[in-house]
């Protein structure tokens, strides 16, 4: 028997679910949030003793348990997909706040060009610049249209940074390549560590444009427009994969979720694992979920919002038979289309003899960046690839199990290795590259035919591999990071043209920036949702998150996810008022 109908049911209570809940409940709507994980053990009070690298960073306390539910991966359409049997390449969160609890806090806006990646590429380089099989698309929304929502997210979260472009006026010291902002960041930029300063000086010397990386980790106390006050970062160095015990890191559990709960109109149910939306093809009626006892529950609502991580948003649509499933063999259909990732690699490292840096201090977004080789900020003529990425260096916290380092040629164990790890643990500088991941016709998400989760439902099957464009991009990136490293001038250098492994490897950590599968756009033939993240076919269902990215940019995704969530909330309120049709 169905539960009592509510105005809105949201699946997943992380950044997206929290933001939408805070906006809708304050507008008077009654909202139920279904969170598949726990509600307790996810707040600042629970993280007082969390400086435990083994528990959180190695044994993955805050992430999805792959014994219960995982994904399968094949590198091409002809290969049998194999399950990802333990976490590796990416680390989706679970529990209240989702991955918004364990993120690093690196908070970017995508470039104006990123939202028109297809049109801008064709305009500048011609259609022939897009390799066969690549399927990049415009977003159906422009940077200028999204700007107010970026602004809203940044002021809510208290992002620290230095603007490089306010209303078209370029400001040196900020990111001079960014799109125009309506105003300065809400919080002053972070200071620079010794490591960041070395990078900054080298980049300047080479004529590049370094700036402090935008951060969700507060350098000073901040009160946001919702009335939430958070304190400053302690630079403990335990951000990525950890929760913040002082609330300096913006996190849904310390910002939007309390705001929603305060209205008295937001009910969150933990251990509630949604798997389908009951519908008649035109209207979503209710969300079906497993409760803590494994019993199926049905929550009817006027409006249904999918706010889970990329994979479960897409899986729920496929299991609900909502939207036309994508067929990677023909390129027809939309649900599961344009799955993308983040292209890492091409970094350089340098080791100093006899100089120690306090690498264990820092915060997840304490870095200096250049944007000179991202997006289309440089001329790609003759390079043989499109796209780019951000280049950064800094002090994001060097927990020792994950951060031992030795120069090339050091034995991997034994006395010499032992000497080297002591000598170099605190004496290394690295310059990293985080690149775009373009869409391809044959990269997709669908339901796996063989493997099941703990409830007996099919796992998501990922079809993905590295393609020639990204290999060329990473080779190019390696020459740039090496150039910077040479200018930094450490005693030993490792770098040069970067390379990607023979195949995408699910076992080593790269990035939890999985995107796509429910792309947004202006054309219902190539997108699942419109620019308010509302399903073309089923207007009372909104699907929101990084799943909406038609392809991934050379930046961390959370700033854009936050902006999309605020835009979706506005769309939902409009739809609620009108009662029918597309916003």
């Amino acid at each position: 028997m169905a539960l009592k109908k509510v105005d809105v049911v949201i699946v997943g209570v992380g950044w997206v679910g929290g933001i939408i809940a805070s906006e809708l409940t304050r507008a008077g709507l009654h909202v139920v949030g279904l969170e598949r994980g726990r509600l307790r053990g996810r707040g600042t009070a629970d993280f007082q003793d969390d400086h435990d690298e083994l528990r959180y960073a190695i044994r993955n306390e805050l992430f999805q348990n792959t014994a219960n539910e995982t994904w399968t991966l094949r590198h091409n359409l002809g290969e049998a997909a194999l399950p990802i049997r333990q976490l590796g390449s990416f680390l989706p969160g679970t529990g209240l706040g989702g991955a918004g609890v364990h993120w690093n806090g690196q908070t970017w806006r995508f470039h104006p060009r990123d939202f028109t990646a297809y049109t801008s590429t064709v305009d500048r380089y011609g259609k022939s610049a897009i390799p066969a099989g690549m399927q990049i698309q415009d977003w159906g929304v422009t940077y200028d249209e999204l700007e107010p929502y970026y602004d809203k997210f940044e002021y809510m979260a208290g992002i620290a940074g230095k603007a490089g472009n306010i209303k078209g006026q370029i400001i040196q010291g900020g990111n001079v390549f960014e799109g125009p902002r309506s105003r300065e960041y809400p919080v002053r930029a972070q200071q620079t560590t010794e490591l960041g300063a070395l990078f900054q000086k080298a980049a300047q010397q080479l004529g590049y444009h370094p700036f402090p990386g935008p951060s969700a980790n507060l350098p000073v106390q901040y009160k946001n427009p919702d009335g939430i006050t958070r304190g400053q970062c302690t630079y403990c160095g335990f951000c990525e994969r950890f929760g913040c015990e002082v609330g300096a890191k913006a996190d849904p559990t310390t910002t939007v979720i309390p705001v929603a709960l305060k209205t008295g109109r937001f009910e969150i149910r933990g251990y509630s694992n949604a798997y389908a939306i009951k519908n008649d093809g035109k209207h979503g009626q209710s969300v079906l979920y497993f409760d803590a006892a494994g019993k199926i529950q049905e929550q009817p609502a006027d409006i249904i919002v999918m706010a889970a991580y990329v994979f479960n948003n897409v899986r729920t649509l496929l299991m609900s038979k909502l939207g036309q499933p994508y067929d990677p063999a023909t390129g027809q259909g939309v649900v599961g289309r344009n799955y993308c990732y983040q292209t890492g690699g091409g970094g350089a490292s340098g080791w100093f003899t006899g100089r120690r840096f306090k690498r264990y201090m820092g915060s997840g977004a304490l870095q200096t960046a250049i944007d000179d080789f991202n997006a289309d900020n440089f001329d790609h003529s003759g390079l043989g690839f499109i796209g780019g990425g951000s280049i950064t260096s800094g002090s994001t916290g060097a927990r020792p199990i994950q951060s031992l380092t030795t120069p090339p040629g050091t034995a991997p164990f034994g006395r010499d290795w032992k000497v080297a790890i002591q000598k170099y643990y605190a004496s290394v500088i690295s310059v990293g590259f985080q690149g775009e991941s373009p869409a391809y016709q044959t990269h997709a998400l669908d339901l796996d035919p063989n493997y099941r989760d703990q409830y007996g439902n099919p796992l998501v099957r990922i079809t993905f591999d590295w393609e020639a464009n990204e290999r060329k991009m990473i080779a190019f990136a390696g020459t740039k990071t090496l150039e910077i490293m040479k200018a930094i001038n450490p005693d030993i250098i490792s770098g040069g043209p970067g390379s990607l492994p023979a195949h995408y490897d699910t076992s080593t950590y790269q990035s939890t920036h999985n995107t796509g599968g429910a792309p947004m756009g202006a054309d219902p033939g190539t997108s699942v949702v419109n620019s308010y993240l509302q399903m073309w076919d089923v207007p009372n269902v909104f699907v929101v998150g990084a799943c909406n990215f038609p392809q991934n940019a050379g930046f961390n995704p959370t700033g854009t996810v936050g902006a999309l969530a605020y835009r979706a909330a506005e769309g939902i309120l409009k739809f609620h008022k009108s009662g029918a049709g597309l916003v």
Binding site: R59, A67, T192, P400, F413, Y451, D505
Partner: protein, 267 residues
């Protein structure tokens, strides 16, 4: 935050730590006694120096912890192998002193070793190409149990003695056989799990046993942290990183780490 822990209060920290710590190894046990007797002012004082003094003569060393998963034979094997990865030598302590064998024993007995977060449903297919990671129907504890006898057979056949009885140079050669995949071990030998895969798993476990918080049974007396210069739980001295993070000033506690705070019951 941890307001009660300010710089200069390390002694009380260590008292807290040791007081709640049941089966502590000899070094820490002795130091607690000394701290209680007021013989030592600060935590950073060298344990070795204290132990050399007459005060410890009366102190009975705590017995080693019981084994929870490994057999004695497996434990001796793992301990000897861990010493090859991170040796105890004239430069400083290694895996045996740090208790890496006990760390691995506890990990294999616990949720990780028993595969609580591993997806172990079939079918188990042979990967067509690289990049698919763990693809066998075994949890890490099963892998250790299945792999070590095969490795023992290989080592005896190739080097005439069991691993723990080999000299350090030959142990290094045998470890390299694992690393390069040259040793074909029954569980390995296939593309699904090679001896090189076991080497990676084992080496990672040794690093954890050297560098995880001492509460997990390894990194005793924080020897791993002291070796690399990691100050341990940053909040144990209060919010002092502020004063150092943006300056070139050295942090004075790099080699005087503190472990996580022991749990306190509500009152």
């Amino acid at each position: 935050m941890s307001d009660e822990h300010r710089p200069g209060e390390e002694a009380s920290d260590v008292s807290d730590s040791a007081a709640s710590d049941g089966g502590t190894p000899p070094g820490r046990f002795s130091r607690l006694k000394l701290l209680k007797a007021g013989a030592v002012g600060i935590a950073g004082a060298s344990a070795g120096g204290i132990l050399a003094g007459p005060a410890t003569a009366k102190t009975k060393p705590a017995p080693p912890p019981a084994l929870l998963f490994l057999t004695k034979w497996e434990f001796d094997y793992v301990t000897a192998m861990a010493e090859t990865i991170w040796p105890t030598d004239d430069l400083g302590p290694g895996a045996k002193v740090a208790g890496v064998g006990h760390y691995i024993d506890r990990q294999l007995a616990g949720g990780w070793g028993q595969g609580h977060r591993f997806y172990l449903n079939g079918p188990f297919l042979t990967p067509a190409d690289s990049g698919h990671g763990w693809q066998i129907p075994m949890a890490p504890a099963d892998v250790y149990r299945a792999f070590l006898p095969g490795f023992d057979t290989y080592v005896r056949r190739t080097y005439a003695k069991p691993y723990p009885e080999l000299d350090a140079t030959t142990q290094t050669a045998a470890m390299n056989d694992l690393r390069t995949g040259a040793a074909s071990i029954p569980l390995g030998g296939s593309t699904a799990f090679s001896s090189a895969d076991f080497f990676s798993l084992f080496r990672q476990n040794v690093l954890e046993g050297m560098l995880a918080d001492p509460s997990y049974g390894g990194n005793q007396d924080m020897v791993g942290w002291k070796w690399v210069g990691f100050p341990g739980d940053p909040m144990r001295r209060g919010d002092v990183y502020y004063e150092y993070v943006f300056s070139s000033k050295p942090y004075p506690y790099e080699h005087k780490p503190l472990p996580m705070k022991p749990a306190r019951g509500g009152s």
